[in-house]
Amino acid sequence: MFRVVREPIKPRELERIARAGDGGVVTFLGIVRARADDGRAVTGLSYEAFEPMAVSVFESIAGEVRDRFGDVATAIVHRVGELAVGEISVAVLATALHRGTAFEGCRYAIDQLKARAPIWKKEHYAGGASEWKANA
């Protein structure tokens, strides 16, 4: 399950990828924070994506997870459009026989997504200013 969506993310839907043998499921949710890294009050975020390429990067990342950590299934769903504080921007789920591989796969996938996926974020600040913010 590799998707860019406009509607709110339902994290439990990602669990569908779990296989009968899986014993450990690790999920990462990214949440819109009320403060920017520089401390400014954030009223909301806009995300946009180069959607077909983003989905293709998600698929590549899931393949790398299997290559590196073994038999792990990965789901990645990222939301785009206007998001309010407290909403879920991204959900990454990794499911495996044992918890160690699920933790490692989930962590790798969100780290790679942040570094490589063609997705952009604009922060909207109290007072009306806004700014495109790249990941560090």
Partner: protein, 81 residues
């Protein structure tokens, strides 16, 4: 030949839209497309070092050759997650 340029985030705002069709001489490379855009929007010059490009959905370089009908995406530093 004609290519389609896709621009995202700050680049989309700079180019005043998500898509631009661009007429280029046969044999043009990615850097020629960039130069043609920078002629009209000179602020692009400062952004080249931080911009990645994708040709038909795959990461490309400024040296790559373009073909008629190509889709060239201009990707600013990403901020997903």
């Amino acid at each position: 030949m004609e290519i389609r340029v896709l621009a995202f985030a700050g680049l989309r705002e700079l180019l005043e839209g998500p898509e631009r069709d661009l007429e280029l001489p046969t044999g043009a490379r990615v850097r020629d497309a960039w130069a043609a855009l920078a002629q009209r929007w000179p602020a692009l010059d400062d952004l080249r070092a931080s911009t990645r490009v994708a040709r038909n959905g795959r990461i490309a370089t400024f040296d790559d050759a373009l073909a008629d009908g190509d889709e060239l995406a201009l990707l600013p530093p990403v901020g997903g997650g």
